[in-house]
Symmetry: C2
Subunit: 241 residues, 2 copies
Amino acid sequence: MSDDTLSASAYAVSPRNRVKRTPDRGHYDRETVHAILDAGMLCHVAWVLDGQPFCTPTLHWREGDTLYWHGSSASRMLRTLRGGLAACVTVSHLDGLVLARCGFNHSANYRSAICFGTARIVEDPEEKARALIAVIDRFYPERAATLRANTVQEVKATTVIAMPIDQASAKIRAKGVADDPEDLGHPVWAGVLPVRTVLGAAEPCPHMAPGIARPATLDAYAEGGTLDAALRATQALYDPA
Amino acid sequence: MSDDTLSASAYAVSPRNRVKRTPDRGHYDRETVHAILDAGMLCHVAWVLDGQPFCTPTLHWREGDTLYWHGSSASRMLRTLRGGLAACVTVSHLDGLVLARCGFNHSANYRSAICFGTARIVEDPEEKARALIAVIDRFYPERAATLRANTVQEVKATTVIAMPIDQASAKIRAKGVADDPEDLGHPVWAGVLPVRTVLGAAEPCPHMAPGIARPATLDAYAEGGTLDAALRATQALYDPA
């Protein structure tokens, strides 16, 4: 399957990933799911140990239809993964607060992508080396080659996790107040309070030698821009498929 | 235990909630955990059905040591809850991207709170009525009384979930670049790119009658302010303990 076909196609739908509540907000095509994943850096991973669910926040990145995240070899989650672990990875964006004329129609604008798969530790040295470049360059274009090289100890101390996405769904609400027609005259303020995640002014490390400028490759993260746009732009450079 | 004692005390620590990776970032006191929960509206709930983990994003609120969230009675998660369901609820804030001089020291500034407990459906009509007021007034002070009243059908169609927090932990990174001393001379830009979630200009519903002003009770959500500050301020009004 070519990359174009991959991104145009949809995930198979079953009871596991079908959007049951407000199904009109559900999407299953890769393009929509990937756009939500790529617009965020923070994901939450649900996994189970001895029947107990855990919800672990971490940073993720995507290559084609595989999600990656990483952590210390010491982490509890990762120790359980040697044989592959059923996981559910969710990326959510809160885009607005929706204040309606009755409690029931209060809502939020949001985008979320829920991905199911089996997570595995990346053991192959070449795949791991590529992933340790990707975790930098996917976010900060061309940066990995400018860094002090990883030591053997650092590589050993880092565990990279990969999860091919077996199934996924996206859910999106992106509209104004949806009150019942008979409530429109109710005399209360109603509307949307938009929410966005933005970048502040860069805080250079005080230990930098004089004369080191912020490289143009970080321009996507300029002050006042949204993190969403910065992450989509850098993903498009990294994984143009 | 008085409310003061409650908020000053710490959650019991066991292998389930102990922060193993970078334990210096771990906190177990209620004040720290609650502040992270209260600063967010979006949480992720991990739960298990037939061995399959699910990571469901939803909106939450807190009263004392109980987390609440709600949803439609039709939702898959809620149908499994009649007998109480083991759940893990996580609230995370991404506060900054940390660009170091080697890959290993790249990081993020963040605050996360992970809460463990058994979730139950709120069945008692009085508790449910209070919760349907809380889901409005906790976020939008004094708003519930100004709305068109809930209908019997709306109350029936809404399921409220409560989870007393049995155990919890918080994890916080809030500092600059932490490079090894011998790397400080490496000639690459290093620093923190701060991230914050802010409110945009309110978008009034176009169907409002003329002359309905935005009430001062929504001033916490003024354009340009952070959602974090708005949610903490409204929580302090709602649940001052």
